[in-house]
């Protein structure tokens, strides 16, 4: 069908400053766009409501120089990923493969080559729920300004949460977010008042909020800063999905282990696909501290990671699935010999 996108205005921002002033001028009518792989689909399907106005002005931030930089700072031992870097660029980066294999693994598991070639890091972190009620104009769900959640009484066997349930029970769709969070990343955000930094741990909101992130309508991500993990860190990302390709996760786990010889001195374990936000399994992290990891320890830690999860009527199987991906990711991380260790 032709012209499924309604008539709208479009501007290319050439700098952060320009994007900021356009957002200030157009307010709620405006929306930033870079790859557009998520946003354009929502627009075509007229997914909107009292709390989700249809954009009338698109501000392209994809070509702003600071947002397209992917650079490893040797002195600071930190990777800076511009928000408009594509998932393909990130996945294929030699330095990412060498020092942050977890990120590369997570990127390669996202959607399809065509989406990864266009979809950006910022867009991946800010993507809207992959919930078939949210993405159907006939349902006026809580996230769009309606009341309640049709998924609770409806079909929720796949892309829905078992943990952190609130008004909305979608599971967060990002594969990249757990990986970046497990590495202790920090976001740089452009806002009306300038720029601010915030730990990725504090970026996502709970299921009682209309929006998934702390970003206001006049804010956007400029870059993600990823500190280089300790020399003896090992890491892995494991994703389970219905089909081996082109699918969102039923459950995923990103694990970073800091090792001293055979002993795990610290870890970060973040789950995807199981809660309305990337879920950090603090209890499980604590359990791994100062342990010698073997299959048994990994299995028990994984069961702990499921924590107080309850699940919904049709998705309780994801409790077990969550434990499986955590166990597999811990064991895969243990087996991973990152080049950085040499």
């Amino acid at each position: 069908m032709l012209n499924e996108i309604p008539r709208l205005e479009h501007a290319d921002a050439s700098s952060i400053e320009e994007a900021r002033s356009l957002l200030a001028a157009y307010g709620e009518k405006a929306k930033v766009i870079a790859g557009g792989t998520d946003l354009l689909g929502l627009i075509k399907d007229r997914i909107s409501g009292p709390k989700m106005p249809m954009p009338e002005v698109l501000i392209n931030i994809g070509a702003i120089p600071e947002l397209t930089v992917l650079r490893y700072d040797e002195a600071r031992q930190s990777l800076r990923i511009g928000a408009a870097v594509t998932l393909t660029q990130l996945e294929e980066s030699a330095i990412v493969r060498e020092k942050f294999p977890l990120i590369s693994q997570a990127c390669s598991s996202v959607a399809t080559p065509q989406i990864r070639n266009v979809g950006t890091v910022g867009g991946n972190l800010c993507q809207r729920p992959w919930c078939w009620y949210f993405r159907n104009a006939a349902f006026n769900c809580f996230k769009k300004g309606g009341e309640g959640c049709d998924a609770v009484t409806g079909e929720h066997q796949y892309y829905f949460s078992v943990n952190g349930l609130g008004v909305c029970v979608m599971s967060h769709p990002s594969d990249l977010a757990p990986a970046l969070m497990a590495l202790g990343s920090e976001l740089e955000i452009a806002s009306k008042s300038g720029s601010k930094r915030i730990a990725l741990d504090r970026f996502f909101l709970g299921a009682r909020e209309v929006h998934e992130t702390i970003l206001g309508p006049d804010e956007f991500i400029v870059a993600v800063n990823v500190p280089c993990p300790a020399v003896a860190a090992r890491m892995a990302f494991v994703k389970n999905r219905i089909r081996d390709t082109w699918d969102f996760s039923l459950a995923s786990a990103a694990v970073v282990l800091e090792m001293s010889g055979a002993v795990c001195t610290g870890s970060r374990i973040v789950l995807g696909g199981l809660a309305p936000f990337p879920y950090r399994a603090l209890d499980a992290e604590e359990m791994l501290r100062n342990s010698r990891i073997d299959k048994d320890v990994a299995t028990r830690t994984a069961q702990k990671a499921a924590g107080k999860a309850k699940g919904l009527r049709m998705n309780k199987y994801k409790l077990g699935l969550g434990a499986v991906v955590v166990r597999d990711a811990i064991l895969a991380a243990l087996a991973c010999q990152a080049d950085m260790r040499r």
């Binding site: 008539r7 205005e9 479009h10 501007a11 921002a13 766009i33 959607a111 065509q114 989406i115």
Partner: protein, 163 residues
């Protein structure tokens, strides 16, 4: 700076030719190619970045042209199915797909070919896994996948055999 606007003057660089045109900002690359440039080899199936038949190359990378604004493709190097055969002669990939029955109804074929070109332009010695990954974003509802994969693998063997 140019403020937001409903229409824009853009230059699209497609298959080696530059086209200057005024388009609406909302126009997708697929719509611009088909409706404005009459390059109807690019098909639109789902129009939702899911089926892959609208795949074209932008700066050498496979993209869903139904879900990219044409204004975002301005100034970039766009290649469509019409640019694959050279001087009336089929590309070896096209010939291989015909020889191996790598298509049935043919609706997915332009997109399949562009996704495979994106792979073969970067890598000549491709594995079965590479080929399957390259077309992971292209649906073929006739189910011609096995022959498509075989055609590409055979093409690789033939070209390496020819030195």
């Amino acid at each position: 700076m140019a403020g937001p606007s409903v229409t824009k003057q853009v230059a699209l660089f497609v298959n080696g030719k530059t086209y200057s045109l005024e388009i609406e900002s909302r126009t997708t690359l697929a719509e611009a190619l088909r409706e404005r440039l009459d390059l109807t080899g690019t098909k639109v199936g789902c129009n939702r970045a899911e089926c892959g038949t609208c795949t074209v190359l932008v700066d050498g990378r496979a993209v869903y042209s139904c879900t990219m604004l044409a204004v975002h493709a301005a100034g970039k190097n766009i290649q469509t199915i019409e640019g694959v055969a050279q001087a009336g002669k089929l590309d070896p990939l096209q010939q291989a797909l015909m020889d191996e029955d790598g298509l049935q109804c043919g609706f997915c074929t332009p997109g399949m070919i562009m996704s495979l070109k994106a792979l073969l332009n970067r890598k000549t010695d491709v594995s079965r896994r590479d080929v399957r990954e390259a077309i992971a974003g292209n649906y073929c509802r006739c189910g011609a996948y096995p022959n498509i994969v075989e055609a590409v693998l055979k093409l690789g063997r033939n070209s390496s055999g020819a030195g």
